[in-house]
Symmetry: D2
Subunit: 342 residues, 4 copies
């Protein structure tokens, strides 16, 4: 079987594996206080043009999401996100488990708008008895979204403005950040200028595992390592995270491998379209959602894995194909040929 | 100003105040271990025809809701309720504060259906990766609902059945239970047969304050007093709660005063209808939601308080009028006359 | 049986009951937004000489303790208290239930010293890896303590100074505050000058129920009502709390009835001493701990209740006798006579 | 500098690195549902002689500790451990952060006794008002302890018996399990027979990272993956954990490399003794605590790292030296020679 079902089914980019192998005999300080974490943090600060940012490394996405969100909120404050947001839909109530309500906004494409956020902020501000509801204090967006869509620079700036207006923190989940940057007019410095906190995803973008959390808001930086440790997210051999990100940010590798995957996925998108298979929505990034008939699914299932997203009332299925940094040309060619033959 | 804005703006029924006065010189054991709490619990068990039920007394509704719900759930389990449910909409995220997600269901009238609950249960049961979402384990309904509507006996039985099918606890918030029982084909023994836990509201039904929690599910009874104490809900002078409920259940007073209020509110409903003022929805209980124009609101505001629920797009306002055990005939007559003059 | 086992076995002072009776027919706004709460808050601010303080009313002590402490702490921060502190020893882990560790200090008499607190603060400050331990951020003391002892003004000032030095909040649990003020050189304005937050206990000092929380630290005041509501501590008929405290602070009643109880208890202390019954420790307030032999316990048990604190190795029992605002002269005289006869 | 300060300063055993390299091009299912995790789980079940045990893989120790403990407790229940226990002393209040109190027991050597646990259980059982305190429900011990000591088989059996008597779960933190098994009369099947849950530490015993949690109590097994995901502990590329444990349990490698380290550390222990440097306590495992004078510390600091544990009143320092699977003969020889020269 050739896997297109997700973008985390292979270990790591050769440069990452080489970094691990090259340092296997070395000895380092623990808990992320080591030269590799420092080097990686510097590389990310430089690439983001935010020398003042704090950078911390986490093993996984759910972990970094709930830790960062809880650190930004007081008990009576809530997070706002799309109904499709990963923290709401796929993380087993981890944010609520830390004590915080999530207020969801309807979203056909995984994105939310500044106007929607403003409405939430206004509603709280105008409430005659705000103490009976939670205070919306943090906006969570994913970039790209769970449906592969991206925010434009203008959309992000509008979200930034509305967050400022209502005193909300803007948190961007960049689990697939590399693919999003390759497919939008947003640059890493743009993101670092507009978001109070954001993650640079490694697990789906070339690393064995790892998410870098970048905190630009100085108010959220103090004592952050205490949150990491308390939430079980402080890796004893922290340098394993640092050296992976150092390898990925060396010479822009992170951006290159994601850009290549986005270029490849455009061929996949075109192949579906050429074959008359409709997209569920228009995704410019490495996740493509298309509507397959039963026979089409059966045919493709013989050689490929893909993820079932949701059934349609007409019997078709919305399915997801992912291309990643690890997808080979042969794998893609095979799929393209088989789509043509459907 | 004559208050119709809520049903908790007066102290307590004279029988309750008399019970307090009569016992003012007495001395009792603390923390709810006293003859009054025992007597009240027995009275409630008898009225509910559940001699096996555990009965605990709380001061307030938010408190009893989150304590009981958290006691019934494991950390990865969630509560299901209408989007209008009090625990979701008006309790400052108290349930999430205890670590649990709330899954909301759309509801035009405050009620949810067995079919909706079945869909939630089925969705979890069929999930290929249930560990990525919370397990729906408790259904919260309010009786009557936040919009004054009530479930029929058949509807409750259907909810009971679906909860059993999917292993969910059925919890009924009876903050206004007396008014609901007076306006439906559901009896207290019916409720006690169908619900795993339910509250008998005192604060809005004749008591100074107090909610009785009735736990019929034996699995939820052990060590429950530990939850009460841990959540700050164990009243030092617990007999103050017991004697109020004992007074209210003496000779069926609780049911009588609520039935009278429901009879009175029917006159209010008729008066609005006679004047051509539309109801927002059809409520058979002590809360009436009607649609007022600006001039109508201004006219009524001169003498009466009522609660603004939500504005309509056409400029009218949906407002709530509450009648209660404490509403006097004179107060109602005055309002009826002024509605006629609108 | 005549109860000396605690100080909350009778309803309320006549002035409080009269206030309730006088207002029974009145109608008020909900949730503590009413003239009585405002009047009571003003009376407490005036008596404490802190016009800038925020005052909130709670029903019970555990509730106000965990709500206030959690509001003052971030998730990685902990509270410091004596090993005998009520929040550690008698509240079912309520503070930990809100997510916070309690660091305990040894204490033979219920008190802790500035030097002990400084050691905790210094230990954190000097830790090479503070992120592996919680940050001590709040000092909890009870005044009087669980053993009836009181802090002198000098001791409180030293605690204040050390808290300032280490950036800690000083929180004083005044569940029996009236008795403590009657037995020390500390005045209410002193307390309000030195503590960041403190409670004025009503339940044990003349009220039916109720604790007033006074917040002098402006940083802890914003949005505090949201914490109250989220923790189920916002009484729907909030005026019931306000009018009780208004009655108690009218003409200094609160201080008078507590002073009288302290005067009475001194006679009890003297009677035990005269009879050769040793005190467990020297308490100047309304709780007296004495060491009884088995026969002495048996003799007193026939007419009186008292609380068993802990057994001694020599077979004697340390027991607690409480006098309160509600103890009558006849009750005390009877006990004094029976002690003499032991 | 040669590091003896901890046992997690080098990457991984060559066999682990080889397993990673060998599979680098492969593609696997996510979230721990893969052949490697299954193979590793089977190997651990076989080595532990518990075919009925559930085995889950975590990245880190704090994470597995608080997740497993919280899964075993209801909100009002607490964990019992030595005052030196890792969950109490070094994990930033992670257990309290999940809502649970820790009851600590005095311990000069890191161990607790069955008699101590019985006293805690008895105290709760006999409490007249148990709802005012937490219910001790889980006993946490570390094997070996934070001071390197180990429990004998008899001691473990006594703890097992007392836990059964009082209905407590016995949880064993085996972060350094391999070293403990090499230095005691306890076998892995013994541990798996006596503990309800225990961990098999990888991070300090040859893995890059990873802790295996073995759950033998069937009551604690259901839905455990939901806890893992909710706590951010489900590794997307879960096979990375499985293949490491599979490599370590292949041919008993895990046991061999830990046994070798224990043999090496005995030479270190002997060298300190020969030089007249006293041990702080008698540790048979890979952590040695000795008392150094200032000049001795200065001399050793020039070439070696070691951890400062605590200062003594006489000016000496208790320090920790760790030997691990990664310590080379040359490193040890150098240190031995330098100790001799002190």
């Amino acid at each position: 079987m050739i896997r297109f079902n997700n973008d985390y089914h292979r270990a790591a980019h050769p440069a990452v594996l080489k970094a691990l192998a090259d340092t296997a005999g070395e000895s380092y300080g623990g808990y992320g206080i080591d030269p590799w974490c420092e080097k990686a943090a510097q590389a990310i600060r430089a690439a983001a043009d935010r020398p003042d940012a704090a950078v911390h490394f986490f093993v996984g996405g759910t972990q970094v999401n709930f830790t960062a969100i809880a650190a930004a909120l007081r008990p009576y404050q809530s997070a706002v996100c799309a109904e499709t947001g990963h923290i709401h839909a796929h993380e087993t109530g981890a944010v609520e488990h830390t004590g915080h309500k999530i207020l969801t906004l309807p979203s056909p494409d995984g994105k939310i708008t500044a106007a929607q956020v403003a409405q939430v902020g206004e509603s709280y501000r105008r409430s005659p008895i705000p103490e009976h509801i939670t205070q919306p204090k943090l906006v969570y967006i994913s970039f790209p979204t769970e449906y592969g869509t991206v925010y434009s620079l203008g959309e992000l700036e509008a979200l930034r403005a509305v967050c400022r207006e209502y005193g909300m923190t803007l948190f961007v989940d960049g689990a697939r950040l590399g693919y999003g940057l390759a497919a939008s007019d947003v640059t890493l410095p743009d993101l670092a200028r507009l978001a109070d906190m954001f993650t640079v995803g490694g697990t789906k973008c070339g690393a064995l595992f790892g998410e870098a959390l970048v905190i630009t808001d100085p108010a959220l930086q103090p004592d952050f390592r205490s949150y990491i440790k308390q939430n079980g997210a402080m890796l004893a051999k922290g340098w394993l995270l640092g050296l992976q990100f150092a390898a990925l940010f060396e010479g822009g590798l992170y951006f290159d491998i994601c850009r290549r995957a986005v270029e490849m996925v455009m061929r996949l998108r075109a192949a579906f379209a050429a074959r008359g298979i409709p997209a569920y929505l228009d995704s410019p990034t490495n996740q493509q959602f298309v509507l397959l008939t039963g026979p089409q699914m059966d045919a493709l299932r013989e050689k490929y894995t893909f993820e079932l997203d949701h059934p349609l009332e007409d019997g078709r299925m919305c399915v997801r194909f992912c291309v990643s940094w690890a997808t080979t040309d042969q794998e893609l060619e095979a799929l393209l040929a088989d789509i043509e033959r459907l």
